[in-house]
């Protein structure tokens, strides 16, 4: 796959279709892969990588890249295409300036999950028949592939590319995923239990903004939390309220726009399951206003920018679920 991608990228660079390529660059170890822009065939040969760890969603980079001179080739996984489409819909990327090659999605691996098994000193990771052979300073270790899969991939919603100029590999389908399981589980807890759960999670927050800055829906020119005139600007949670505030408002601002790409939870250094907030909104929107998948198209009205005269009343919150 990696080779096919490099070869196609070289062709497109050579025939002038694009003048650069966005993809992933290999790192020091097996897993520390960085999104990068490649300008030449040599750079591609030297550093371009596509493997079980290339999980980063590069669509957000295209906000800036697509406004530069010339066309850029972007390799997008199915989940990334949803993000890209949503950005197109919101006029944040210039579609004409991006040549999209759809590539197969995950499941991708999570180095944290390998480390959580107590495996340290990781030098290399190989997938042999869905068993990971991990070469470490302390000898070789093995673990089942699926135990190291990223959470976001474990509950993958779609293998379908919703936008592309060409595909490498085959296009897949929208999947029946179990992605709302944990949301449901929380909904069925008592309010006190839910409160305790989230307090436990949010109290870990260090407001590093990784979730926000990686989020392809959070592309504001200036975030309200960075804007001293917004009245809610803050840099660090000085109180539990501010932890709540940041995550509620962030989830609200991306409600109906979040494609559920799962990057927020992937990058959280404190392992806060932030995607649950987004999924709660998605689940509510689906059940209250009809199925809606952000990024599926570029024309539909976002649920929060739309209404029906017979929408349910807000009191529905009082009438359902567990108190």
């Amino acid at each position: 796959m990696q080779e096919a991608m490099i070869n196609r990228a070289k062709q497109l660079l050579a025939d002038g279709t694009v003048n650069r390529v966005i993809g992933w660059k290999r790192g020091e170890f097996a897993y520390d892969i960085t999104p990068a822009v490649f300008q030449s065939a040599e750079e591609l040969d030297a550093d371009f990588v596509f493997d079980d760890f290339t999980s980063a969603n590069v669509s957000k980079y295209l906000v800036k890249e697509s406004k530069k001179e010339g066309k850029i080739l972007a390799f997008l996984k199915p989940c990334d295409t949803y993000s890209f489409n949503q950005l197109t819909k919101e006029h944040r990327v210039v579609r004409e300036n991006v040549y999209i090659i759809g590539i197969p999605g995950g499941p991708k691996l999570d180095a944290e999950k390998i480390k959580a098994k107590g495996i340290t000193g990781i030098l290399g990771v190989k997938n042999e028949n869905y068993t990971l052979k991990i070469d470490t300073i302390y000898g070789e270790e093995t673990m089942p592939f699926y135990e190291a899969v990223l959470d976001k991939c474990a509950s993958c919603k779609s293998k379908k590319h919703v936008v592309f100029d060409e595909l490498i590999g085959e296009d897949g389908d929208v999947l029946e995923s179990n992605r709302f399981e944990m949301v449901e589980k929380l909904e069925n807890m008592t309010a006190q239990e839910r409160y305790d759960f989230w307090r436990d999670q949010f109290s870990k927050c260090i407001r590093c903004n990784a979730c926000r800055n990686v989020c392809p829906a959070c592309t504001c020119e200036k975030c309200v939390f960075d804007n001293p005139n917004s009245g809610v600007e803050n840099k660090a949670p000085a109180d539990s309220f501010e932890e709540n505030m940041f995550h509620i408002i962030r989830a609200f601002h991306v409600a109906g726009r979040c494609t559920d790409c799962g990057e927020c939870s992937r990058v959280c250094p404190q392992n806060i399951p932030l995607h649950l907030l987004n999924r709660k909104f998605i689940k509510d929107i689906n059940s209250l206003y009809g199925e809606y998948q952000a990024g599926e198209d570029t024309t539909s009205r976002a649920p929060l920018n739309d209404y029906k005269q017979d929408d349910c009343e807000a009191s529905i919150v009082h009438e359902r679920g567990v108190e």
Partner: protein, 148 residues
């Protein structure tokens, strides 16, 4: 004289009212001398759709124990569709607050027309009682703002 140590908890209620229906409805309940607790403080907004979730959280942060949002009945919005957006926004916001374990009865949306002075007063009485039962807002408060 005996001083009552256990003073009854008096919640602070912030009510956002749209200028055209609910604020007028509140005025009407005043004109008709319909009582509701002085715990309720009204903020006038042009339309219920002007109310940003940030305002509601801000009220809780600064010490409110309950926030209620009043607007024109669906279909009667002065701006034709404002309250429809309000309804979706607030449904989702309240659902999220509930999801985070914040007591449901601290927030509410109520449609009150300019003619419904009695409904306004009744709603405020009911809501204040409901919040009183919940006690002070502890789950969504900013400790720094707590009054000593």
């Amino acid at each position: 004289m005996q001083v009552n140590e256990n003073k009854e908890f008096q919640p602070l209620i912030v009510a956002f009212c749209c200028n055209w229906c609910s604020y007028a409805g509140a005025d009407l309940s005043g004109t008709n001398r319909l009582n509701y607790p002085s715990n309720v403080k009204i903020i006038r907004v042009p339309c219920s759709c002007r109310v940003n979730p940030m305002f509601i959280l801000r009220a809780f942060q600064k010490g409110a124990d309950g926030v209620i949002l009043c607007g024109c009945h669906p279909g009667d919005c002065h701006y034709t569709s404002g309250n429809y957006f309000t309804r979706r926004r607030m449904t989702l916001l309240f659902s999220m607050l509930d999801f985070l374990g914040i007591e449901r009865d601290r927030t509410r949306v109520e449609w009150v027309s300019a003619a419904e002075g009695a409904k306004f007063a009744a709603t405020m009485n009911e809501f204040t009682e409901a919040v009183k039962k919940l006690g002070p807002n502890r789950r969504l408060e900013d400790l720094r703002c707590r009054k000593q």
